[in-house]
């Protein structure tokens, strides 16, 4: 399979799904994203990203239970796949390598306090 590139939102959404203890659907993903980043996302954008990740094989989905506040509509629940986990790991490695290549004290020189990852 060809190397799949992850966009920023895709990565964030993938991380949110990975971080949840059970299968999640659109609304909690959106809320979590808002909480963590402070930016607002629309349901449409979140759904688009979730489906795209599923298409790439990083997530799997199933149909979940309906509730009254949804007007009796069922949820589409997403879960992380092995490939998704692998992609996250690779991404983290890339980041770590890049972090390590920053020269010592450079960020401090710019007046920034850095918490090492």
């Amino acid at each position: 399979m060809k190397k799949t590139v992850l966009g920023e939102l895709e990565e964030l959404v993938l991380l949110v799904v990975a971080a949840s203890s059970e299968d999640v659907y659109g609304v909690p993903v959106m809320e979590q994203l808002q909480q963590q980043t402070g930016r607002s996302f629309t349901i449409g954008a979140v759904h688009t990203t979730l489906y795209r990740l599923e298409e790439k094989g990083f997530l799997s989905s199933s149909v979940g239970g309906a509730t009254a506040e949804r007007g009796g509509r069922s949820k589409r629940l997403f879960a992380l796949t092995a490939a998704g986990g692998q992609a996250l790991l690779e991404m983290q490695q890339v980041r770590t390598r890049l972090w390590q290549s920053i020269p010592q004290g450079k960020l401090q020189l710019l007046g920034l306090s850095v918490n090492p990852m």
């Binding site: 203890s21 659907y25 629309t42 349901i43 449409g44 688009t48 489906y51 506040e69 509509r73 069922s74």
Partner: protein, 913 residues
């Protein structure tokens, strides 16, 4: 890591409450655009989020946010339907094959079907092709008409100045302006950038070496003419070519005619009495879509230009500065009357401007955009007979109607033709075709047919082009048809027609229930015939309407040609340009008079039809104490004129030959006697006009004012076209040598002509040209004749197309009623009875169509007739004739099918049951 917290509010309460519901319209919108397989989840999430926001920020803001959220879902991702979604394919292994995979099958089936029903296909394609061809031709015509004078650079800033006014209760609307007006415009109106003038001096006999050729299209123009009008200069200087007197610019064609391939610049030509002209330039031929067509442009200062406002004229064009409104120039031109014309009124009429105005007389100038001249201007002395926007409308409407007819037809025939294909539809449905696929299949077929028809139509147009050019007076070539503009219009239009016309059969056929169809049941969709009946009625409304119009136009034309015009227009030969004979004129005239087959000869510069001298004069009549000036047309005739033309004298006497007193005598027509208040034209108690006196105003100088005595009254004759009532006419004694009229009586016309030509050649080297008075008379009504002929052609086409449609409908219904007819025959119906049964159905439709079409066509044509001062009445028989024609053609069309159906052996038609 986290779970969505449970909703804090009561789950049952808000669901019922409208305020806590997301906006219904946004939900509807969402349901409409989001693909069904995604809808449930995204809508669920949206609702859930909405409820949370209601609790957090209140319902109003939550609803606003909801709408925003919904709008954000309007992306290709959500709107794309599952067929194109790659991952969706796993959900449905037996998906429909894509459209293009089936296309080859559709085409194969389409061609097989068309081939199997050759006659039907041919009727269908020919009907549509004829409609399309007509439409294409009309579009060509209309586009050309609308393009007049639009090619000039800044054509939107070029205007023509014209003179209007009222004198002696007669309106004056001239296409030209007084000669000095152009200069005055430049001087007094800052908004005028350039003024250019054009004068015409009639035809010239142009002499080049030994050849003398008559040139009709000669104009004299200001030197900046070619800067205002964008006619390209091929040789010579655009601005300086026409600055000197006696210089000449030739059009390319004429330059080639005189000088062949050699460079004409610097060569000379002799123009009639104006003498030698030096050619200083060659311009491109004036484009056909221009309101004038001249081949020779002389410099304006080579001819006499009057300096009087009231006694000179030139076609005056002006170009405005950018952004300058024409109204401003119009306002400024109002001052011209007081400033320039008032002194001349004093000089000519001996009145002050206010006295002049008190009598209801006035003068003014109007400005028409150059682009509007061809279609909207109908003034006196136009450079060329202009067209009328009315005809553009009429033809556009006709084109639309014929196209509509053709489409309706195509629809009817396609439906009828596909009626036999219900089994195919059934089988396709059983094998898994969905409705949409069937619709696509039938639409593809109808588009295919339309494109075939378009091909045929283009061929037809090429074939008909010469005839059409003759009818419409245009010069279109194949290049005009295959121009990008026409084709880019025609091809999408055809696709649209194909889709529209194919939609009805497509949707009807695809709605069949396979069970019913395969069982051999009746097709409900094809039985309800009201739509097709309406369509056929509509077709006949249009064709009967056009038929009525044709008959009326034809009758009016006949009426004009056969109406007693007051002179005998048969057997009159007119020789042109006899003024070139000069002093030999009288000798030639008496020589002709001696010929045995010539009954009479007269100098006839003034003629009631075709080229004629013009003379208008103010006639002063003393009526008691009051003096009234009438602006009347005048004729200068000799003593032979009345007998030669066959004009009857009602009262008094004709002019006497060579009597010195005759120069102070005049003849009047009956209209003039009435207008001048000279009593009864026929004499009687009201007093005889004979012996009454009148005088001419002339050009205002004392010498040109003369007094005349009335010696006779001639019967009214039509010296103008029948659009106008017969106006007052004053006939003075005098010879106009412009033309010679000969009343002839011969069985051997070629010999007589040859005879006269020999004598002409003996006298002069000028070309011999002649015409017959009745031909000249007929060409006066050429535009009416043209309209009549075009209507005739369109009526024929409309009836043809309608009949094709009727044929299709009849074929379909008789096919459906096969069993009914079988049963009727078994029960003892006669062939005649069945034929009548089938026919009455259609005759009813035609009767309805006639009832609808008659008032519409009758009203429209009475408006058309309103243009004629002498016109026919629209009788009921015209409507009856049109209806009868339509009905009989319909009977012929349907009769064949009806008889065929009635003759079928009932055993055959009932066997299947």
């Amino acid at each position: 890591m986290k779970k969505p917290s449970k909703l804090p509010s009561d789950p049952d309460g808000p669901v019922e409450d409208g305020a806590f519901q997301p906006p219904r319209w946004a939900d509807r919108l969402l349901e409409w655009f989001v693909a069904p397989h995604l809808l449930e989840y995204v809508q669920g999430d949206l609702h859930e989020n909405f409820r949370k926001r209601v609790a957090q920020v209140g319902p109003a803001r939550a609803r606003r946010e909801y709408v925003r959220q919904v709008m954000h879902c309007f992306t290709p991702f959500f709107t794309r339907r599952p067929a194109a979604q790659p991952f969706h394919r796993f959900d449905n292994e037996y998906a429909n094959p894509p459209f293009f995979a089936m296309l080859s099958n559709y085409l194969t089936i389409a061609f097989r079907n068309l081939w199997r029903h050759k006659a039907f296909t041919a009727i269908n394609i020919i009907g549509l092709a004829v409609g399309l061809a007509t439409c294409l031709l009309i579009v060509l015509f209309v586009v050309h008409e609308l393009s007049y004078d639009r090619y000039h650079a800044d054509s939107d800033r070029i205007y023509r100045m014209t003179l209007y006014g009222r004198m002696d209760d007669k309106d004056i609307d001239l296409a030209y302006a007084p000669g000095p007006a152009g200069q005055a415009l430049l001087r007094d109106c800052p908004g005028v950038e350039a003024v250019t003038r054009l004068r015409r001096e009639g035809a010239f006999l142009v002499k080049h070496h030994q050849d003398i050729i008559k040139e009709e299209n000669v104009a004299f123009v200001d030197s900046n003419f070619f800067s205002v009008f964008s006619i390209p200069m091929l040789k010579g200087h655009r601005v300086r070519a026409l600055t000197e007197p006696n210089t000449l610019v030739l059009s390319q064609t004429v330059a080639r005619k005189y000088f062949g391939e050699t460079d004409p610049v610097g060569k000379t030509l002799s123009l009639g009495q104006l003498g030698l002209f030096r050619v200083t330039g060659v311009c491109a031929d004036v484009p056909s879509n221009t309101h004038f067509h001249y081949d020779m442009f002389g410099s304006l200062n080579s001819v006499r230009n009057g300096s009087k406002w009231l006694a000179s004229g030139a076609y005056t064009y002006l170009r405005l500065r950018k952004g300058y409104p024409i109204q401003q120039v119009e306002d400024q031109s109002r001052g011209f009357v007081a400033r320039y014309i008032a002194p001349e009124i004093k000089e000519f009429f001996g009145q002050s401007l206010s006295e002049f105005r008190q009598k209801g007389n006035r003068f003014g100038f109007s400005f028409q955009p150059v682009t509007a001249i061809h279609l909207y201007s109908d003034l006196d002395d136009e450079l060329e007979a202009n067209s009328d926007v009315k005809y553009v409308y009429i033809f556009s409407v006709i084109a639309l109607f014929i196209l509509l007819l053709a489409c309706i037809n195509f629809m009817n025939l396609s439906t009828a033709g596909s009626a036999g294909r219900s089994r195919e539809v059934g089988i396709r449905k059983v094998l898994g075709s969905v409705r949409r696929q069937l619709v696509v299949q039938f639409l593809a077929e109808s588009v295919l047919l339309t494109l075939l028809a378009l091909g045929l139509a283009l061929g037809l147009v090429l074939l008909l082009l010469p005839g059409f050019n003759g009818l419409a007076g245009k010069q279109f070539t194949a290049a005009d048809i295959f121009s990008i503009r026409i084709l880019t219009g025609a091809i999408p239009a055809c696709l649209l027609i194909g889709l529209l016309a194919g939609s009805y059969p497509a949707f009807v056929l695809s709605s069949f229930k396979p069970v019913t169809v395969l069982k051999g049941g009746l097709q409900a969709g094809l039985r309800s015939g009201w739509l097709r009946n309406t369509l056929v009625t509509g077709q006949f409304v249009v064709s009967i309407g056009i038929l009525i119009a044709t008959i009326v136009a034809d009758q009016q034309l006949r009426f004009m040609q056969n109406k007693k015009v007051g002179f005998d227009k048969e057997q009159v030969l007119v020789l042109h340009d006899t003024h070139v004979l000069g002093s030999k004129f009288d000798g030639f005239k008496s020589e002709l008079a001696r010929l045995s087959s010539v009954v009479g000869v007269s100098a006839a510069g003034f003629l009631p039809a075709g080229a004629s001298s013009q003379s208008v004069d103010g006639i002063q009549v003393r009526n008691g104490a009051r003096t009234v000036i009438h602006r009347s047309k005048g004729y200068f005739i000799d003593e032979d004129y009345l007998p030669t033309l066959g004009i009857r004298l009602v009262l008094g006497r004709n002019f006497k030959k060579a009597s010195p007193s005759e120069s102070a005598s005049v003849l009047l027509n009956e209209a003039a006697v009435r207008a001048y208040g000279f009593g009864n034209p026929a004499g009687g108690p009201a007093g005889s006009p004979i012996g009454r006196q009148l005088s001419t105003v002339g050009d205002g100088t004392e010498g040109s004012k003369r007094t005349y005595t009335v010696v006779g009254v001639v019967k009214d004759f039509h010296f103008e076209s029948m659009h106008q009532h017969i106006a007052p006419l004053v006939m003075f004694y005098g010879e106009d040598h412009g033309q010679l009229a000969l009343r002839i009586r011969t069985d051997d016309l070629p010999r007589l002509l040859n005879d006269i030509e020999q004598r002409w050649k003996a006298e002069t080297g000028n070309p011999f040209a002649y015409s017959f008075l009745n031909d000249r008379f007929n060409t006066m009504y050429q535009s009416e004749r043209r309209i009549g002929q075009l209507f005739g052609v369109f009526a024929g086409l409309a009836v043809l197309i309608s009949c094709l449609g009727l044929f299709g409908l009849a074929a379909l219904t008789t096919h459906q009623r096969t069993k009914e007819i079988g049963v009727r025959k078994v029960l003892g119906a006669s062939v005649a009875g069945i034929v009548t049964l089938l026919l009455t159905q259609y005759l009813k439709l035609i009767l309805i169509a006639l009832a609808i079409a008659s008032p519409i066509a009758g009203y429209t044509m009475s408006r058309w007739l309103g243009d004629f001062a002498y016109r026919i009445d629209i009788g009921w028989w015209i409507f009856a004739l049109a209806g009868g024609l339509a009905a009989s053609v319909a009977v012929l069309t349907v009769g064949y099918l009806a008889i065929k159906a009635a003759l079928t052996n009932p055993v055959k038609s009932l066997r299947a049951e």
